[in-house]
């Protein structure tokens, strides 16, 4: 019993049901999790597998139609289900804290930071007056906020996302909780900010000796943060073990498949397509006799179909599979695809003319009389059949550039876009039909990009009109497109709501390809999708490119994805093009100091202590720093010149250009010094 009381959180055979209409659907079944004091337990899985349900059940805060139908949940040895409402409040007040994905929604927009943080101390410790202010300031200092007194006077909207999340974490830790639940705490943040927040969480965990339940869909984040890892699939814990065991030697086919889906650091498209997990997550509450993963498992046997495997103990680690020893040899899915997909011809950036030439594009928005420069004098070229990756943090101007190119907004005077050497009009409506056909776009969020009142057939047909085909051929082309994006034909009748996220994105891609485009701008097309779906979509994009010689402008914040897909990479920071060049050159260096920081924030790139940490927040676009825009955060700043003069974008002979006062040779020397 004493061992139990010392555990921060125990789930014992927990089932959670949701009532939907007249039916009860099981969201979690027989979940067993133990988090020992001071440990960090990671729960990982794709969307819809029950991660957040587990988090909510741990504070008895399920939605009104949900209930724990079996098992016990113990926080520090106290059975949550047996507590009276008053006792439950005591537990929530003193023992458990939660941090959610979106800090902007966790903070009250109409209270100053100081006021809402003070509440924690007033309620949990009964403090009053200036003592509270002292404690709030001290707490803000501990989460590395440089000027706590000023921040206490701010409203949440005046702070960046990273700052907001640090404040939410500060509030969560203020009461020294025994258990801290982090539900996707860094999912909405930029890579460099994410790295910083994860560092902070790791440091505070040691300082406060808090136990953490860390929930994330991101395998790399879980890998970096957690001692123990549980893998959820369709409401079942399919595998559990130490970090090293799960990531180094997975013993459940789902874990193996999931890890293979990730574009690993340094993996290129020339090495063949990514692996995928065929099939779909079973619908919540659907009852199967056998193993939950059987439909998608390459190792499945009749035994797996007939009987659900129990949790098998492999000496301190668990797996729900009859054949844990076969898991590492799970058949590869991508092999047949390799035959189908010839890797795209490598950067045909020859002497010929570029397909698309953007010259001097700037975009200034007016905001209450002040000028907001979203994009400043960006010039770049795109050759036929190549993929140009566009990276940068939010606010860097990536999406502004995309909307200028496809004609959703007009650039400031002086900006020009040429297609095939011909000037195109700024707005899509003013361009010729041929030009519109040539330039299409795939959006980030298919839920927003697909009209919810139209069927898939209508959605694609409306773009097919660009081709001006006679009716029978149009129907044929529609079927070809559906087949090309692997969308089963029966879905043509459905509205987007009936499709999964991956299928929706396939429709969105089919629509972009309907008019036989020559350039497709892809704006974070996989960032709203799960890992296994992402790999399938990336493979699809590669395949379409190989078949149709289309060029991509591929916007992403995920450097591994860009590295995998892109022939060349362009790096934007605060609306400036900082660096552009072939992918190998960008990744091997010498790199612009900003690119260097982005790369090192990328999990998997470096060991922890070698990571470069950018100081401070992204400056607001309304008050841009003078000189080099990066000088306020640059770890390699050389002096006054960086603050006073903006460096020019200088190219070496091989199409690799960067905007830095430090000569490339010197950068190469500095950077090799760090790596060795």
């Amino acid at each position: 019993m004493s061992a139990q009381a010392s555990d921060a959180l125990r789930f014992e055979h927990v089932d959670v049901m949701y009532r939907v209409g007249a039916h009860e659907r099981r969201a979690l079944s027989d979940l067993n999790v133990v988090i020992r004091t001071g440990r960090t337990y990671g729960l990982v899985g794709e969307s819809g597998c029950g991660k957040s349900t587990a988090a909510l059940a741990a504070v008895r805060y399920l939605a009104r139609n949900g209930r724990v139908s079996a098992g016990r949940i113990l926080v520090q040895g106290r059975d949550l289900m047996a507590l009276s409402p008053l006792e439950l409040r005591q537990v929530r007040r003193h023992s458990v804290s939660m941090v959610y994905q979106d800090p902007a929604r966790a903070l009250n927009p109409s209270l100053r930071i100081g006021r809402q943080m003070a509440e924690v101390f007033e309620v949990s410790e009964g403090l009053k007056g200036s003592a509270v202010q002292e404690r709030v300031a001290a707490m803000l200092t501990r989460v590395q906020i440089a000027n706590p007194r000023r921040v206490m006077g701010n409203y949440p909207h005046e702070l960046s996302g990273g700052m907001q999340q640090r404040i939410v974490i500060a509030m969560a830790l203020s009461k020294h909780p025994a258990l801290l639940i982090l539900d996707e705490p860094t999912t909405g943040l930029d890579a460099t900010v994410e790295a910083e927040v994860l560092d902070l969480i790791a440091r505070l965990r040691d300082e406060f000796n808090t136990s953490i339940l860390f929930i994330s869909h991101s395998l790399s984040v879980i890998n970096r943060m957690c001692d123990h890892v549980g893998v959820l699939y369709a409401g079942e814990l399919v595998e559990e073990g130490s970090n090293a065991e799960i990531f180094g030697d997975p013993r459940h086919p789902y874990t193996v498949a999931l890890l293979r889906c990730l574009p690993r650091f340094g993996r290129r498209k020339t090495q063949g397509p990514l692996e995928t997990i065929p099939g779909f997550l079973p619908a919540i509450g659907s009852s199967t006799r056998g193993c939950v993963f059987v439909e998608r498992c390459g190792n499945a046997t009749d035994h797996c179909r007939a009987q659900a495997p129990p949790a098998i103990d492999l000496g301190g680690r668990l797996t729900r599979c009859f054949y844990p020893e076969r898991a590492p040899d799970l058949p590869h899915t991508a092999e047949d695809a390799i035959v189908r997909t010839t890797p795209a011809a490598t950067a045909p950036q020859g002497p010929g003319a570029p397909l698309l030439r953007a010259h001097n594009l700037s975009k200034t928005y007016r905001l209450g009389g002040r000028a907001l420069r979203a994009l400043h004098e960006v010039s770049l070229e795109l050759w036929a059949g190549e993929t140009l990756g566009l990276v940068g943090e939010s606010g860097s101007g990536k999406s502004s550039l995309a909307s200028l190119l496809v004609g959703l907004s007009a650039p400031d005077a002086g900006g020009e876009v040429d297609l095939d050497g011909e000037r195109v009009q700024p707005l899509a409506g003013e361009r010729t039909q041929a030009q519109r056909k040539a330039l299409q776009m795939v959006f980030q969020n298919p839920g927003s990009a697909l009209n919810r009142s139209q069927t898939v057939r209508t959605l694609i047909q409306r773009s097919l009109r660009l081709l001006a085909l006679p009716q029978p051929q149009r129907e044929q082309r529609l079927r070809q497109l559906a087949a090309a994006v692997r969308l089963p034909e029966q879905h043509l009748r459905d509205k987007p709501k009936r499709l999964s996220g991956g299928q929706q994105q396939r429709v969105s891609i089919a629509r972009a390809f309907a008019g036989a485009p020559r350039i497709v701008v892809c704006d974070e097309p996989t960032s709203a999708l799960d890992v296994s779906v992402q790999s399938a979509i990336l493979n699809l994009l590669l395949e379409l490119q190989a078949g149709q010689q289309v060029s991509y402008l591929f916007i992403s914040h995920d450097l591994n994805v860009v590295n995998f897909l892109a022939d060349r990479i362009a790096v934007l920071y605060l609306g400036r093009l900082m660096e552009i060049g072939p992918t190998e050159a960008i990744f091997t260096g010498p790199q612009h100091p900003y690119t260097e920081a982005l790369l090192s924030a990328n999990p998997g790139a470096h060991a922890h202590d070698e990571r470069i940490r950018l100081q401070g927040d992204l400056p607001g676009a309304l008050d841009l720093p003078g000189g080099c825009v990066f000088h306020t955060r640059c770890p390699r700043k050389i002096g006054r010149i960086c603050e006073e003069r903006e460096p020019a974008l200088l190219a070496d002979g091989d199409g690799h250009a960067m905007r830095c006062h430090i000569p490339p040779a010197e950068l190469a020397r500095l950077q090799s010094g760090r790596d060795s």
Partner: protein
């Protein structure tokens, strides 16, 4: 559909509404007596087995006149509402889609109009173009247009920023096609709910206009007119007013119940 059958207010409202629609359609054949025949020997007779709701100053049967009175109001009010919804939806879509200066101007005009009592605005209109069922439809339709436009505008504003509108622009769809083919189906539920709400107001509006002599014109049997003709007698001859007033109220309540029910359904 099943949810609609489970909502009791919606069912009750629909039942009352159907009753009055039946009266409007078949009223002339349902009445026990001729609603237009005067009987000067039986003026202002109290309710009895011969005249269930009594008779008015000219000895006409009040029950028959209440039944037949549903006709004109149930033609004029729905037509006016439909006109207002049509114009208002088009205006709201255009303003929400184009935003900018058009939005600013139209929104200020709408606010200015709303500062005036609608009945006064309608009266000025009717005074200018004359009164008939047709002009009443026109005037109420125009008066309702800005109200409906405002609701449709705000629904449109939240659609315009969605990427499907951007996708349509990238492939070069015209503004007209984007508004009416892409956006309209998504704001239609809002417009329909707004229309049922407005229908209740329209009935009240028509009755009010008839009461002050600018709506439906005699000799048509109409509840508003009947109330206007007889309200000075209400102390002694309550039946000449109360049944018409009750009919008006029940119709408005029925429409509001249906509107509420539809709104709940739309929110689900």
């Amino acid at each position: 559909m099943r949810a609609a059958l489970r909502s009791r207010p919606l069912l009750a409202g629909a039942a009352i509404l159907l009753f009055w629609i039946a009266c409007a359609l078949f009223g002339s054949r349902m009445t026990p007596l001729d609603p237009y025949a005067d009987d000067l020997l039986a003026t202002l007779a109290a309710p009895s087995s011969a005249h269930w709701f009594g008779t008015d100053q000219l000895g006409r049967d009040v029950f028959s006149r209440v039944i037949v009175g549903a006709r004109d109001i149930l033609i004029v009010a729905p037509l006016a509402t439909a006109l207002g919804t049509l114009l208002g939806t088009a205006l709201g879509l255009a303003v929400g889609y184009f935003r900018g200066a058009l939005d600013t101007i139209v929104s200020r005009v709408i606010e200015a109009l709303q500062a005036l009592p609608l009945v006064i605005v309608a009266l000025m209109g009717l005074a200018a173009i004359g009164t008939s069922n047709f002009t009443v439809v026109l005037v109420i339709g125009f008066v309702f247009t800005p109200l409906i436009a405002r609701t449709v505008r705000s629904a449109t504003l939240s659609e315009v920023d969605l990427d499907y509108v951007a996708a349509a622009r990238v492939r070069g769809d015209s503004a007209f096609a984007i508004m009416f083919v892409e956006i309209l189906p998504n704001v239609l539920p809002v417009a329909i709910v707004e229309m049922t709400v407005r229908l209740g107001y329209a009935i009240f509006f028509v009755a009010t206009l008839s009461f002050i002599g600018f709506g439906i014109q005699p000799p048509s049997a109409d509840w508003g007119i009947a109330i206007a003709e007889n309200y000075s007698l209400i102390g002694s001859y309550w039946w000449t007013v109360l049944f018409d007033a009750g009919a008006t109220a029940s119709l408005i309540i029925a429409v509001n119940l249906v509107a509420d029910g539809l709104q709940h359904l739309a929110e689900q």
